[in-house]
């Protein structure tokens, strides 16, 4: 492209849009330090670090966090296995019904979350299944599959099919080829997909309200606070920490998948 300059109005509109996206999140950070604990007063009358200590000593927050991490970890693991399998099948063969399968994988995030939620809830009802960590995992893994799948499919597509043939040609059987060629080439995509799946599960609330029963994940804990604010300062601190914690996997996924085109374009 020629070195041309963007019109001023476009720059301004793009900048305003980005600000619109980020300022609200930054405002949370300010509230985490406010001395005001009854209202959402702005500007904060004063700043303090005391709420961090208070939050640290709250067992309910820790419990909710623990459940969220456990659910996210198990869901991510299941999604990694199922998403990779589906992606590998789609990458290696042309077969009847491919479109149906890709639709099926995408459906859980294409349809509103409430539908997944109430579907699972009514299925648990009909099947007489009691709520547990596993009922939450069942829902989360279902919509996490697509995240892993999308990352893996994209990488498979950019990885030359002849790499697998070359490996077999050099004497490696199917499992050796997977271990020594396929896996190293899709590893970063899987890691990125896994991180995103973790972030997605860690943050999910809409489906979870239907599948958790009386259990509290961190988002459910927050939802309760949003509907009936009782612990505003603690909520502020938790909100800020959640933002910071979810940024890590996103940045990680970005750095893992960045610049893969040059690697995958190898040999073309």
């Amino acid at each position: 492209m020629r070195s041309e300059r963007a019109p001023l109005w476009l720059k301004a509109a793009a900048a305003a849009g980005l600000l619109f996206l980020h300022v609200p999140i930054l405002i949370i950070f300010a509230y985490a330090f406010t001395t005001e604990d009854k209202t959402y007063q702005w500007p904060p009358p004063g700043f303090t670090l005391q709420w961090f200590g208070v939050t640290w000593n709250r067992p309910d927050v820790w419990q909710a966090l623990g459940l969220s991490v456990r659910v996210a970890a198990i869901s991510t693991l299941i999604a990694l296995v199922l998403g990779t399998l589906a992606a590998a099948a789609m990458a290696r063969a042309r077969f009847f019904g491919r479109e149906v399968i890709s639709l099926l994988v995408i459906l859980p995030i294409a349809l509103p979350g409430i539908i997944t939620g109430i579907s699972l809830r009514s299925a648990f009802n009909l099947g007489g299944i009691a709520f547990s960590t596993w009922t939450i995992v069942l829902g989360h893994a279902t919509f996490c599959i697509v995240v892993v799948y999308n990352n893996a499919v994209a990488r498979f597509r950019r990885t030359s099919a002849s790499l697998v043939e070359a490996s077999m040609d050099l004497g490696a059987n199917g499992f050796q080829t997977f271990r020594h060629v396929t896996l190293p080439n899709i590893a970063t995509a899987l890691l990125a997909g896994g991180m995103l799946a973790f972030a997605l599960s860690f943050d999910e609330v809409i489906v979870t309200t239907f599948t958790a029963g009386q259990q509290q994940t961190l988002p459910i804990w927050m939802l309760e606070e949003l509907v009936r604010p009782r612990q505003r300062p603690v909520t502020n601190v938790v909100a800020m920490v959640v933002v910071l914690v979810t940024f890590l996997p996103i940045l990680g996924a970005y750095y893992l998948t960045r610049g893969t085109d040059t690697v995958a374009g190898q040999g073309k």
Binding site: S160, S162, L163, E165, A166, S167, M168, D169, L170, G171, A172, N173, Q176, H180, V181, P184, N185, T262, V263, A264, Q266, G267, K268
Partner: protein, 332 residues
């Protein structure tokens, strides 16, 4: 001693498309065998059938007499140099070359020694620590070659290995490949769409057309005595004369091939002139000049060597040739 590679009535169909259609051919041990044809003629599919990446729809492929049906690629005594080289991007050059040995369970020291030796063989000593992404096209091609050769295959399959290289490098690699094949004495099966490459390198050439082998023979055979009009035209862009014209000129109603470089251009009405034609256009190619002619509505080409007198466009000329050079084709 059985042939290195045997195709017995091999077909490979993709749905209604007959990519390979009833191919029968034997490739002898130690031979440099070229499969030549336009894209989509089935030559690459034939190579992939030998490597085991495709399965024949019908027929049988044997390597050193052993039927390859049901034998996966990793159990076949052949190795392949891929058109896109297929170097593993996550491994450095040394580990790429040593990959097959690693899979075979050889020790690290032995692997590295063998890899370095193979790299020397392809004239890339000391390149082991680089990543494939840091190499030029020609260097990648050599690494791919070393990676296949390090396993001492009895048959090496090469799928358009020089296709991605520029002209100068390609000519250099042609010589090197030929020398390497002589030195190692193993069978090379070489797929190419470049007739010059096939003629200059191969001991024998199989010319593919629409999934079938149109002709197999030594390069000079194929060039001098094409079996079909397709071969005549594809290999060296010969003039193909229809049966009627041949009947008038040589007395037998068969299609005939007349190499452009064997057509002589004479002044109109000169003695020994066998036919008359009109000059349509002339093209200067450096070493030769190509003259497009129309002989009673039939397009012909003639190549004039440097220094020969080039006729004017539109001029009437006489044509002559050695009667032996008019090659009648009784193939189909």
């Amino acid at each position: 001693m059985p042939a290195a590679v045997t195709f017995r009535n091999v077909s490979r169909h993709f749905g209604a498309v007959r990519a390979v259609d009833d191919v029968t051919v034997e490739i002898a041990e130690g031979e440099f065998f070229a499969m030549l044809g336009p894209s989509g003629s089935g030559k690459t599919t034939c190579l992939r059938l030998v490597a085991g990446f495709e399965q024949p729809t019908a027929g049988e492929i044997a390597v050193f007499g052993q039927n390859m049906a049901g034998v996966p690629p990793y159990r076949r005594p052949v190795n392949t140099v891929f058109q896109d080289y297929a170097l593993f991007p996550h491994l450095n050059v040394r580990d790429n070359v040593a990959y097959g040995l690693m899979i075979a369970g050889r020790g690290r020291a032995e692997r590295h020694r063998a890899a370095e030796a193979a790299l020397e063989l392809v004239q890339l000593p000391g390149y082991g620590d680089r990543k494939p992404g840091q190499l030029s096209g020609g260097q990648r091609q050599r690494v791919a070659l070393a990676r296949a050769l390090v396993l001492e295959p009895r048959v090496l399959l090469l799928d358009e290995p020089l296709g991605a290289l520029d002209l100068k490098l390609r000519e250099q690699m042609q010589e090197e490949l030929k020398a390497l094949q002589r030195k190692l004495g193993i069978t090379f099966v070489f797929v190419t769409h470049d007739q010059g490459e096939a003629l200059s390198m191969a001991d024998r050439v199989a010319v593919f057309n629409q999934g079938r082998i149109a002709q197999v023979g030594a390069p000079s055979d194929v060039y001098d005595r094409p079996a079909t009009p397709f071969v005549a035209d594809f290999v060296g862009s010969s003039n193909v004369l229809p049966p009627e014209v041949t009947g008038r000129l040589a007395g037998r109603r068969l299609p005939a091939s007349l190499r452009p470089e064997l057509v002589r251009i004479l002044p109109p009405g000169a003695a020994g002139s066998l036919a008359t034609a009109r000059v349509i256009s002339t093209q200067f190619h450096g070493a030769v000049t190509r003259v497009h002619l129309s002989m009673d509505g039939l397009d012909l080409a003639a190549l004039l060597p440097r220094g020969a007198r080039v006729p004017e466009e539109g001029a009437a000329v006489g044509l002559s040739w050695d009667p032996d050079d008019l090659h009648l084709m009784d193939g189909t």
